[in-house]
Symmetry: C2
Subunit: 205 residues, 2 copies
């Protein structure tokens, strides 16, 4: 099988998910090492949780919440990824996700750079990525036309695209972020990077 015959990997995530951010900094390079491309799918965990009955990882359990904030930071250090705990967390991400899909319909590479800039804006520079102005500022930093994006965010087509992606996520069995699917095999969590590499190396184990 040549590299071009290999199916792309699907990467489902919410822009407010710390472990999604960690995955976003690793998955493209890991996939490329094994001749794979990655399709990124920002979705809304609120929609996923409501539909599946799933919940945020700590969800009111104070011992677990305390642990997880330590673990976000430590997992980032372990992987060598910059991380500063955001002062507003979690937050709504529909503006960032809609902007991603509008950009993606025009230029996949630009959409990918935008997604990295949103994640780093949130988890490194403590930006309020829930704000439409912040999303437009991040886009403007990539020389994306601010007025065109502002208009696009209000269109029914862009809103419908995000809604469709959330429905596709549910159909694909997504219940949290990050959720990676390789040839039908699902991997949940940034802590599955080792298994993902093992799977790509061996073609399944």
């Amino acid at each position: 099988m040549t590299d071009s015959d290999k199916s792309p990997i699907d990467f489902w995530f919410d822009f407010s998910s710390p472990y999604g951010y960690l995955m976003s900094e690793q998955i493209d390079a890991l996939a490329a090492k094994y001749g794979r491309k990655v399709r990124w799918h920002p979705v809304l965990l609120g929609v996923i949780f409501q539909a599946t009955g799933s919940r945020p990882p700590a969800d009111g359990v104070s011992a677990k919440g305390k642990y997880m904030f330590t673990d976000f930071h430590r997992s980032a250090r372990h992987l060598g990824i910059p991380y500063n705990p955001p002062s507003r967390f979690p937050l709504p991400t529909q503006n960032a996700a809609r902007a991603y899909y509008w950009l993606h319909s025009q230029d996949c590479g630009l959409a990918r750079r935008f997604a990295h800039a949103v994640y780093r804006g949130f988890f490194v520079d403590d930006l309020d990525i829930s704000s439409p102005d912040t999303v437009l500022d991040i886009a403007a930093g990539l020389e994306i036309d601010r007025a065109s994006l502002a208009a696009a965010l209000q269109t029914p087509e862009v809103k419908a695209r995000l809604k469709d992606e959330c429905e596709r996520a549910l159909a694909a069995g997504v219940f949290g972020s990050p959720h990676v699917v390789i040839d039908g095999e699902a991997f949940f969590g940034a802590d599955r990077l080792g298994q993902i590499e093992h799977w790509l190396q061996t073609g399944g184990f």
Copy 2:
């Protein structure tokens, strides 16, 4: 610092926890590589969940439940550990845990071998480890006197010991299984083995 100055690692788990089983097959050798010993603490997740408000990982979320059964098995294959999905799961483990503490009060090494035999009995040989008879059979296989253990399981001292360990677990911040503590730093889940090794190598990162 010589090896004998290093604090032991605490390993909290429930005998019904698949990820606890995976950790049990790795943690002693990993600790020994860095001159550490491990204190094993079987506890009851039912007690932990009730006290913390935590829940089993999938807890009625069907997409997550389906994923997790795949992940238990795949995680075992990834680590090279034998695993056969138990036909009864989860199940109560107070008899196995009480037997462990009674044995530990007499012979630490024997208690450790018994703990491995219980976990392998459940996750390899599909034994009903909730049954006192099965627990006694496993013990008898290690040449532990069956009648003495049967009597011990009924004593208030042994029951109180398990209750105390559950309270110590809660005081240590345990909210699930496996939960490993190294010099005050907590690691939750068998998927933290890589971070645990990194931590032991570097003394914290």
